[in-house]
Symmetry: D2
Subunit: 339 residues, 4 copies
Amino acid sequence: MKRFALIGCGRIGTLHADVIAAHPGASLDTVFDPNADAARAIADATGARVAGSATDAITSEATDAVLIASATPTHADLIEAAVAAGKPVFCEKPIDLDLQRVRQCRAAVANANVPVQIGFNRRFDPGHRAVRDRAQSGEIGDVFQVIITSRDPAPPPRAYAAQSGGLFRDMTIHDFDLARFMLGEDIAAVQAIGAALINPALASDPGDIDTAMVILETASGRQCQINNSRQAAYGYDQRVEVLGRDGMLISANRTETGVEAYSATTTAAAAPYLNFFLERYRTAFDRQFDAFLALIEGRADCEATFADGEAALVLAECANMALHERRSVAVEEIADRSE
Amino acid sequence: MKRFALIGCGRIGTLHADVIAAHPGASLDTVFDPNADAARAIADATGARVAGSATDAITSEATDAVLIASATPTHADLIEAAVAAGKPVFCEKPIDLDLQRVRQCRAAVANANVPVQIGFNRRFDPGHRAVRDRAQSGEIGDVFQVIITSRDPAPPPRAYAAQSGGLFRDMTIHDFDLARFMLGEDIAAVQAIGAALINPALASDPGDIDTAMVILETASGRQCQINNSRQAAYGYDQRVEVLGRDGMLISANRTETGVEAYSATTTAAAAPYLNFFLERYRTAFDRQFDAFLALIEGRADCEATFADGEAALVLAECANMALHERRSVAVEEIADRSE
Amino acid sequence: MKRFALIGCGRIGTLHADVIAAHPGASLDTVFDPNADAARAIADATGARVAGSATDAITSEATDAVLIASATPTHADLIEAAVAAGKPVFCEKPIDLDLQRVRQCRAAVANANVPVQIGFNRRFDPGHRAVRDRAQSGEIGDVFQVIITSRDPAPPPRAYAAQSGGLFRDMTIHDFDLARFMLGEDIAAVQAIGAALINPALASDPGDIDTAMVILETASGRQCQINNSRQAAYGYDQRVEVLGRDGMLISANRTETGVEAYSATTTAAAAPYLNFFLERYRTAFDRQFDAFLALIEGRADCEATFADGEAALVLAECANMALHERRSVAVEEIADRSE
Amino acid sequence: MKRFALIGCGRIGTLHADVIAAHPGASLDTVFDPNADAARAIADATGARVAGSATDAITSEATDAVLIASATPTHADLIEAAVAAGKPVFCEKPIDLDLQRVRQCRAAVANANVPVQIGFNRRFDPGHRAVRDRAQSGEIGDVFQVIITSRDPAPPPRAYAAQSGGLFRDMTIHDFDLARFMLGEDIAAVQAIGAALINPALASDPGDIDTAMVILETASGRQCQINNSRQAAYGYDQRVEVLGRDGMLISANRTETGVEAYSATTTAAAAPYLNFFLERYRTAFDRQFDAFLALIEGRADCEATFADGEAALVLAECANMALHERRSVAVEEIADRSE
């Protein structure tokens, strides 16, 4: 039974608390959040202790592993503190909005001897994973194209956008990772367009986009298209399509039930899609945590590494550059010169 | 190029005129209808001659074959006249509402040396036929159950019901034939329920039902369910499902386009189904006629025989008896004692 | 927190133990099974106490409510014992294979002052229930027809069939209940056919069927069709279709993921269906238990009553009589004369 | 009854001959092809006269309108000849592979007083058009994104590729036109990637690609993604998706029948898609021709103008430039300086 400290008790932290509580191989022993009420709420629901500080939570003897679900700017510091304390870390994406900070942190992680896993939950969605595994097994032959549709049901508050690092680092980052996961090959070049179509005011304040399209190329010429929208009236739209020489595999959307309605105006009308990631990816979150337990117990390799976290952020940087310079940006342009 | 006489220029006759006109191997040379305007309309559209009588149309030297699409009570007489004249006959279903009359006619057909085909168009629907052929080829192993859903988009005028012979002889007759076609084995027993649910007034005048369910059994125990409704708000509902030991095949409904709509209330909403048989079964009508040409040119066997027409009517009789006597009726109960 | 005693620790008992363990408002405190190993296995997994007898489990002070998942012949006795002890009871279906025994038990239940719920889990399936609720709300107008497809993935061992009471009392009983739930009106008459098509040897030993079709009628003429098969190569097939004056609602099958495969031979090929009821109806089992908690805490009415359990068994009796006598059996023919 | 001269009797010319023959308002009177056998084959099938030259066909008194389906390099000359002769022209796409030649031709067309329609058949596909019309009617609110999937079932012979002008001018040109049709707004900028993944040898000889992705932006920021492949093992893949503020519309693929197969390995498996454009877009070709007749009879405006043909070619040029220069190309970069 692994005892967890959870740092960060907001929406995603609460989800992780539920996931830990539901897992027979883990317990939530310690929680911390600068917002004491948030920490208390989870503690009351789970019987966990509220720590006095993040450091206290991390270094406690009652903590076998650390789950970081706090605000993005704290991630890198907390990862470093945890690995310094010899505690395995699961950290939500993104590692940091600043690529330089990520690269500093990487050194600490590399020197430590404890596993670190980044929260790319979509890798663990049963549908997406089945498509990846079946494609990798050769079912559709050589993979030529990946098409990722990723649309939120409704835009976040503008305050969220202001501190999110922008669409590519906040939302598309999941798709960048999924593209790498599906292609099984590193991305070589990025092109992107974007606009504030849903809420044009966003363009000037905070200067973000809400609708985007991205094209990725691998060194061997494989192709990936991403389309993003911060609004999909019909629910959270999460599709992955992989085209190969011998066929195609699609991970399609899910509805809560299999109900279809027929009327004078429509046939086979299903309900709107599961809304939002807490519902759509709940199984993925469970399996992601299961994989982390297997990792820290030495039963499996890491399925979403620190390097994956960095690579997705690099692609987000490239996309921002491509968007502003209106050109294809080679990933090596922002490669780490320190290596 | 086979020259056709068409007798009966109503809705279904007009459809057959179109089918003949579109076929490169046939021409419509002669038409007749007691309603001279109806005959004239088709003649004007196709260049056919309007005959002075059905007999004239049948016996004309310019007639190679006869297509009977007139009122049901005239079918048997016209079939007899045509085969007496040595002309191949295609006749719309039902042969007659009176089984005794059908059996008289059968003798005339048996003694003649010209082919007769009955208008069971659904046997020629590409979807239904593919299911039958694939099931027969063994794709799903032994066939256990057939489920037929057959619902009209809207009830006919009450005047139509009054002379139709009742739901089982008018509407279900297609499903009885389809059941035999799908099962590939004769039916041994029939059970049925029915009610006037859409328009309760129908129950007393003319004394018909508009909603029904039928169960059929073969001698070897295979099973078939039919459900009928004179109203389906979402369009003409025509489905066939065949369950076998190793799988299932379904011939599903068709929409005019592949358009799907997504909104705040629905996903993947298609349009109502093709409405009505002129649209849904147009390809079936074309292929049915093609099969008739192949038959009269000696290139193929008959795919919907007079005996099939009689057998479907026998099942309709059984269903009526089962409905009124509230019991399973063995088909042999109304077998032809004259044989 | 309601403390439960679970009697019966086989396959379905183990499922209920999981359901109780996962519910925040209930705990599993006591278990009993004549097979001590089975009881011990659940006790070890949940921390429950193994009782020395069913009576011990029922009457223990640590038992607030009783969940009966034991062999069918013990159900009625255990229900009577529980209500005599003043403990609310949840009992798996069927109440008993013998209708007279059920009616005896009914008197005990009626005189007791504690709630009793019968295990008709399908009433709680989110899809089936949404269809029922939407139909009841008037979305599709007057309800005319219900079509229930209910096929197991593979036949049970022959030993199971021998003590199951036959297909109608063992398997179709769920569909009989679902028909009543969907129609919202009592059934007046029953017709049925059945055969041992999957395994013909079953017909003589133990004298059962494995493939069946049933027609039900209500007093007002509404219609329901059920088709059953003990084998569906493509997985557990559970569909409900409701046709009304203004439209249709379908509760369709579920697959584990939304993956679709496209190849040189197929498009949009999904995986086989969820297999078997533990997977397909897991959510239904959770919600069923939730409803039982609400019932015993006085927060809701009973959604699957003892009377529902009796009514489903009456329909099974009618179906057996209809099968053997080859006629429509009126439900009042086996009405309780003692009333 | 409009009398047509058909110039070009290859695969697409034969299709147009069928379309004309099937239309009640048109007749095919004259055909010409440098390959006399090809011309003769269509003449024999339709009763048309074989002209001695294209000029003869165009200028014949028996020609009311000209349908150009010859090799691409002849299109512009033939258009000029036809409009000079005062004959309305329907011309297959592309107008020419050389944009300068197209612009020369435009002057001739502009000065003539007869209508010219370009063969963008997809505008007339019932599904695509319904999506466009419904989107334009406001059903899904402001349009944000269009996603076009366009994949051929199998690559053309290499000889075809060599004279086709390359993927963007030969294949994507339909998608460029469809993007403009769906967006209802001119394209401002183009990005593209492409590779020879299916047949790598194509990259050097003739120097073409077989797999591509394109991003288009309008001046107002609307976005369109195209993905192309010369090979789709599962059949001709033709999808259009339009995302708007209030919903989404999809024009999905079509299969020949509604048959679904269920087995131990798959559920709901449909047949491969209609293969190829002759089948998938047959209705579109019929409606396209119907629109042309309405145009030349003054009953409707042109629905696929010469300017549309030029605009699609401009986008193909931009895509080629974008591909080679690895940057976003503004459409105005290759605007006509002569204007």
